[in-house]
Each structure stands twice: as C-alpha cells, then as structure tokens.
Amino acid sequence: MINTGDILETINMIDNEHLDVRTITMGISLLDCADDDITRSAEKVYDKVTKKAENLVATGEYIEKTYGIPIINKRVSVTPIAMLTAASGGNPIKYAQALEKAAKTLGINFIGGYSALVQKGFSAGDLSLIESIPEALSVTDHVCSSVNIGSTKAGINMDAVALMGKIVKKTAEATADRNCIGAAKLVVFCNAPEDNPFMAGAFHGVGEPDCVINVGVSGPGVVRSAVSKCPDGDLSEIADIIKKTAFKVTRMGQLVGSVASEMLGVSFGIVDLSLAPTPAVGDSVAHILEEMGLEICGTHGTTAALALLNDAVKKGGVMASSHVGGLSGAFIPVSEDAGMIDAARRGDLTIEKLEAMTAVCSVGLDMIIIPGCTSPDTISAIIADEAAIGMVNSKTTAVRVIPAIGRNAGEELEFGGLLGCGPIMPVRNNRSSSKFISRGGRIPAPLQSLKN
C-alpha cells in the first residue's frame, strides 16, 4: 500500500497549504463558426461553445469530489474573435454577448478569447475588435480580452501599443462604477502563448486542435511550507526542495487533466507549470521569496530569488508532465498576492522593481493598480517597456494595469474574489513619453529572432 507519510503529506497540502488545480480550461476552435452574417455567426459561436463544453463543469466537480482536489475554476478559451469579425464584419459586441450568454449557460467562471493578434500589423477585424473592447468588457462579466502587440519574431507594433494605452484607460473608465473591473479582464501581451489556460490572457490559437483540455496548477503555499522546513540550507538545497515540490504539484495537474480529457472525450493539451497565488493568507508567491531570506518582497535580492524559484518550478514540473505549455512559471499579480499587497502598501514594492522581476518570471506587470490620472501615453510606454523585455528575452510578457479612475496613489481598490485588492501604486506621471509613443511604426525584431 502507499506510504502513510505520503498520504498524510498530500492531505496536509490540500487542507492546510492551499494546494489546488487552479483551472481546467477547454480550448474551442471557432473557425468553423465564421459566417458573412454576424448574427448567424454569433449564434454558431454560442451553439458550438455550449455543446462542446456542456459537461465541463460537471466533470470538474466529479473530479474534485473523487480525487479530493479542489478545482477552483472551470473556463473556456476560444479562437481570437478578431478572426471571426474579419469574416463577418459588423459590431463585434455581438460576439461578446454570445460568449457571455454561453458562459452563463455553462456555469463557467470565465471565457477568454475576445482577442486580436496584431504584432506585425492590423488585418481585417482587428481594429474594430480592439476598439470595441471597453464596451465589451463593461457589458459582460465573464468575457476576458487580450491583444498581442509584439513578438520576438515580429518586433513590436508601436501603433498597437499607442492604441492599447487608450483602450486600457477607456476600459477602466467604462467600468469606473465597478472599481474599474473591466481593465482587470484585459491583458496586453508580447509573445502570447496559444495554449494558455490562465485568464485574462487565455485564447485558443489557430495551431491548436478543434477542442482541447489545458490545465493550470497552483501551489505557492505548498512551496513556501517546504522551503520553511529548511531554514539553514543553502540555495542549492532550496532549489532542490522547490523542484521536488513542483514535481508533486504538477503530477496532480497531469492526473486531473488526463482524467478530464478522457471523461470529456477531448484531447489533452498541456499542463501549465505555474505558481499562481491567491489573496488568501498562505497562498502567496511573495511569501516564498521572503521565506528564502528576504525581509520583504521588493527589496534587493528579490529578482535573484524569483529567478531561482521560477527555474526550479519548471525543472521540477517538466518531468511530471507529458506536455508542458502555457505561461509556466511563477506569477506575480500584485492584487492577487497577500505578500505583494502588503509590500506594495508599505512602499517596498514598486513598479520599477516589478518590471525587473518580470524579466525572470513567467508573465509580466500583472494586476497593478495605477492612479486614474495616468495618461494613455504613459500606459502605452509601460506596455512598450514590458514588451521589449519579452521580445529581447524570447519570453512571454504582459501588462494588466488597472487605472483607478478618480483616485490617486495611496488609496485602494477592492475587486473581491481571486482578483483581490490592492493599493494604487505611483507611476512616473510627471515625465512624458508622449513623443516617443506618438511616433508609431514598429520596433524591428531583435537579432535573436534570426535563428534559421
């Protein structure tokens, strides 16, 4: 029989250390829903999504009960809607409404893919979709949106960067009466992955099969607890402990994904090897870094500690899973991480330090609340900086900032649930980047793109 210690370790991880599967995300291709009549096309979208995912929530709940593992979110990602808009024309809001209706019918937590990929330029449908994002995210609750504005291969589309600064601001303004929640459902990417199960950036890439199951695991609390049992070990030992823990966490995700794909009769895509925090105490990535010996997340040494953590998570997870993908690494969303909220409140964690951290972790400037008076050009400049880090380092970076309309640094916004809450962090509003942003054009792809 299985070792008693191992059994109790697993139960302790789930009961006391917040071990969970963060999401089962079903990716659904909508390419066969394209129609030159937008009303008919939106109906086909609703029909296909509700048919393919009709058992997703029930299957997730069955696995939760049988295996005793909490599965926090059941989600759907779809083909970037800009592609359907290209075929149908018309106002893409109809698609947002169809996706929202499908999400409500299915009982899922989020649906992602109100997206456009414009790293090299705008094609038919892209501009009208991007311009509809503020309205789409204000009239829906479950729809998530993302725009890819750069890649290592293509460079950075600075016209799109300039546009997205305005769109982020407008999205926050359109939901100003609801704590600007719209901006929390919008991500601007460089090197966006096509099989990402995490929101708000999930969409179903064109190279993906018709329908696929992707799984995102979590477990910052488990890693922190494992590190705390080695108070005097050197960093080689810490890396080994994290690898072993990540292996176990990922194996659980692999099991859940394979059972779900078998039950649903859908192929299993990838496991996203992630450390995704929640605002709950004991489920924080910042606290892992502090457990390693930093007084507070954000002080000198934070980038190095995060680099070690991120690398060890991947090394441990990669052997535990048959296919790895998505974002894979440690997330640092400020408002979703109790330790980061605390460090930002004290002023020890700043946007500049977070930007450095994004060079070594899996995503980017995530869930950062900025003053409502921040100009669209400054938001664009933040996006450009972050995209440059992703482009040059051949990695995914993203920006999800929430301009707190009508509020200033020092105040707080409360989103509730997994999105958490956080202080408004100061931005260099007093110095302009407008001239640089208004130049437009493209930042050419870097030399490292020429690998052939």
Binding site: M1, I2, N3, T4, D6, I7, L8, E9, T10, I11, D15, K65, T66, Y67, G68, I69, K248, R251, M252, Q254, L255
Partner: protein, 89 residues
C-alpha cells in the same frame, strides 16, 4: 476502483469499528488497514475497494466525512490514483 480512506484525530474507543461499519453499509470492501497512535493522535489509512459499492462515490465520501464530524475525527476519502501519481514516478 480503489480509494484511500484516511482518519486522523484524537484516539478513542471504537474508531476502527465505526469507520468499518460505514464502509460495510455501502458494500465497500476493506483491502488493507494500517494504523498508529502517537502521543494520543490516532492515524488510520484504509485501502478500500469501491468498485461494487451500493451508492455512488459522492455519497460514501460525504457519509464518511459526516461520521468523522460525529466522532471528532477528520476523515477523507480519495481515489488512490492521486497518491500514486504524486508520490511515484
């Protein structure tokens, strides 16, 4: 299908009997039991065959959890594959 039933809590008379009775009531066959008492803390792990249970997994699991609440123990029922996959390569 086999499940692991884990029972943890303060030691008292009749824990094994109570849990076994609940398993029998659902026609779940106990294949293996290991238990230990360290400093008054009782830990028992049961391997149970649930292929022919008279109800479904959800009801045996929730009934055992309720029994745990009644006798002051923490009882979990989980499919054995979760442990196999996490702790074996």
């Amino acid at each position: 299908m086999r499940a692991i039933v884990s029972v943890v809590g303060k030691d008292s008379v009749g824990i094994l009997a109570e849990v076994s009775r609940e398993c029998a009531a659902h026609n779940a066959n106990i294949l293996d039991v290991t238990q230990s008492v360290m400093q008054d803390m009782f830990t028992m792990i049961m391997l149970v065959d649930i292929a022919d249970i008279s109800s479904d997994f959800a009801s045996i699991s929730s009934n055992l959890e309720k029994l745990g609440d009644k006798i002051g123990m923490k009882i979990h029922v989980m499919h054995e594959d979760i442990f196999n996959s996490m702790h074996r390569i």
